[in-house]
Subunit: 412 residues, 2 copies
């Protein structure tokens, strides 16, 4: 097996450092490099300062085989990526005639005169090949010198992703390594409890195992590298199967599946439908459900019943609200039953609780009840998870999805 390539990334732009835009290119490239079997050890973000950029390019090249720079290829004085690479590899930039003609043609096609500043987008250095930019003006650079590769890509994500996928990946030396991976999604188990249960595997060198706390629950990613997909799969699959057995009570799907697509799969298989009545989640539950394309096959709708009068008009028993308070198991169940009836569905889900910041009925923010009403009866679950409004609402949704999956298992 060849020695794997080590990569670093540098994102260039003061606006990234100042937090004015979020760097989504970094996530895109991280994923692509991983799947090419290239190890990414470090990513940096620097502002538009030539001295610091040159230093960073030199440092990164001394550590890594492949350096990918994103951004700083625009036409203005503070676009300094070309200057920094040229200085770092000690070469002199020159205007490339073919690139200049291309650039002038692009402006002519838009019926605009090319501003003088854009000339530097036609620069090259001796060790650099140009990467064509089909959607913007700035060509990229592919520099190959002294066994090191430096790639410079434009910052706009649509330009960067096309240039990377259509041109750069073909130019990179084959790593001789393929990654095989699978991500298992769990719900209803905490990260440290989960980690404890699979700890005999997380200490393995290969496959590598990572656990990640998400809004939907905890993910487990199992990945192995090998000379071929078959060899990598042979290392990963036995461990994946063992982990699946251990975590079976909590796994709801894998890879691209979401908790809602898992729910849809079960309901579509049974020809059943569902609906919701929301108080504390205030529409977040419906929004998460309808984020799943095609969910109208089984989802009929949701009532965000923010005011108590709305709940009562929708069929919730006013006496239960008076007797137990609106944040109670009894009212949650009554809401789930009312949703089922109102929307004519097989299942009804409900949420009621305190999103904060102020307490309600003497109950503190983060206190909530969720309920599920199905063909065979009702169940309710308590949530007590302090946090801000957004966290509490997400947490309530996770709990109601978990209750729903459990109720569907039991009613099989």
């Amino acid at each position: 097996m060849k020695k794997p390539l080590i990569a670093e990334m540098i994102s260039v732009g003061t606006e990234l450092l100042l937090g004015e835009i979020i760097d989504t290119n970094a996530a895109f490239l991280g994923e692509r490099l991983r799947d090419l079997g290239i190890f990414v050890y470090r990513r940096q973000t620097l502002g538009d300062n030539l001295e610091r950029l040159v230093a960073a390019v030199k440092e990164a090249s001394s550590r890594a085989d492949l350096l990918v720079l994103c951004g700083g290829l625009g036409p203005t004085d503070d676009d300094l990526t070309r200057e920094a690479i040229a200085a770092a590899v000690n070469e002199e930039p020159y205007v490339d005639d073919a690139l200049l003609r291309d650039l002038e043609a692009k402006f002519a096609a838009r019926k605009r005169a090319m501003p003088e500043g854009n000339t530097k987008q036609a620069w090259l250095i001796k060790s650099a090949g140009a990467l064509a930019n089909p959607v913007g003006t700035a060509p990229g650079w592919y520099v190959n010198k002294g066994g090191k590769i430096i790639v410079a890509l434009p910052g706009p994500p649509n330009e960067l992703t096309r240039m990377w996928c259509e041109q750069v990946e073909k130019l990179l030396p084959a790593s001789g390594r393929v990654l095989y991976h699978r991500t298992l999604h769990t719900i209803g188990i905490g990260e440290s409890d989960l980690a404890e249960r699979i700890k005999e595997f997380t200490r393995l060198d290969s496959p590598g195992i990572g656990t990640y706390a998400r809004n939907s629950g905890v993910d487990v990613r199992i990945a192995a590298a090998g000379e071929s997909t078959d060899k990598a799969r042979a290392v990963a699959e036995p461990v994946i199967r063992e982990i699946e057995l251990i975590l079976a009570p909590w796994i709801f799907g894998c890879d691209d599946e979401t908790v809602v697509s898992a729910i849809k799969k079960i309901l579509d298989g049974r020809g059943q439908t569902f609906s919701c009545m929301e108080s504390v989640s205030g529409g977040v539950l419906a929004a998460e459900i309808t984020d799943c394309p095609g969910i109208s096959s089984c989802f009929r709708g949701s009532l965000t019943a923010y005011a108590n009068e709305v709940k009562i008009r929708a069929g919730v028993d006013a006496a239960l609200i008076r007797q137990h308070g609106v944040v109670s198991a009894e009212v949650a169940v009554s809401m789930a039953v009312a949703a089922k009836k109102m929307f004519h569905t097989d299942w009804g889900l409900a949420t009621t609780g305190v999103a904060g910041p102020a307490p309600l009925e003497g109950k503190s923010p983060g206190t909530a009840w969720v309920a599920v009403s199905g063909p065979n009866g009702e169940s309710a679950a308590f949530v007590d998870w302090p946090g801000d409004r957004a966290v509490i609402r997400k947490r309530v949704c996770r709990t109601v999805f978990q209750s729903f999956l459990n109720a569907m298992k039991e009613s099989r």
Copy 2:
């Protein structure tokens, strides 16, 4: 004026390098540090590898006055931030009794036994003070040693932002430079149109002016630095007032205000209420509305009427759906009127359209109608904004909020 502080940031986590999550903390901290007058020169992301982390902490500390680390404070073996800082500053971690008791109390409050692994969340080193974590288990560290400050924050954004705002900013040394800034929020005007209208100001050196396209519309940020708040304000305010005059037709609020808080302010002032009926937005509209604390003063509820039968049972005219299709101005208006009636409110908002990925009634994804029904009549607006489901739903919400603000202006 004192020499400004130089800061660097390090985000820790293999999942960030692999592109599995996008680093939103970096943008948050970049913005806050800028507003404190602290210069950020470099940001790095490293995986869960102790050797590389220690090297990066040492390098960054040698360049910067302040180093902020995010993430890697969890309970598992691959959470290595504490270990890395301790090694970099050459100190030995120990279990702090008070932190351990706090931690055990948190688990006890959730009626769970504390897993052994969490003990390391009670670690400190001699030069570190603990930063309390009101929403999670991991305390942060504030290390002050040899004239350098190292801050370690937990990775989950809700934990990080509270810890930073409530504790860290008070501990940081004053920079001797104060920033005065204001952000004006607009809706209904495009970024390049807006930039053209205020271009005489954007060329100024101070105040600096930035425009940012957001989900809610376009923001304009005006900021000036000075030795005191008064001096900085004196530079910024005259320009802010001129820009406010130019953009008055589109400005709905400033700084922390959101479009929903602006709506709430108007309705509370008039003693009016509102409600919604959602199809294409599928709960996203209600979720955005109920994200605003205290909105129950004027918001009664929303019906996500995903299925046509649900719309009809809620009062939408079935003949209109047959005649014009469900994605039509007529049906949008009928839904807004039905919402008003169903929830007994002064105003009703409605959305109907195609979120995709498949077309509906021969209409392509991104096509939608929104409507507002108020005390003096109805209005409808067309949306045609291709994109993925999330983009389309956000865009529909923006349009309905814009229509609502306009309708309220006219009904004054």
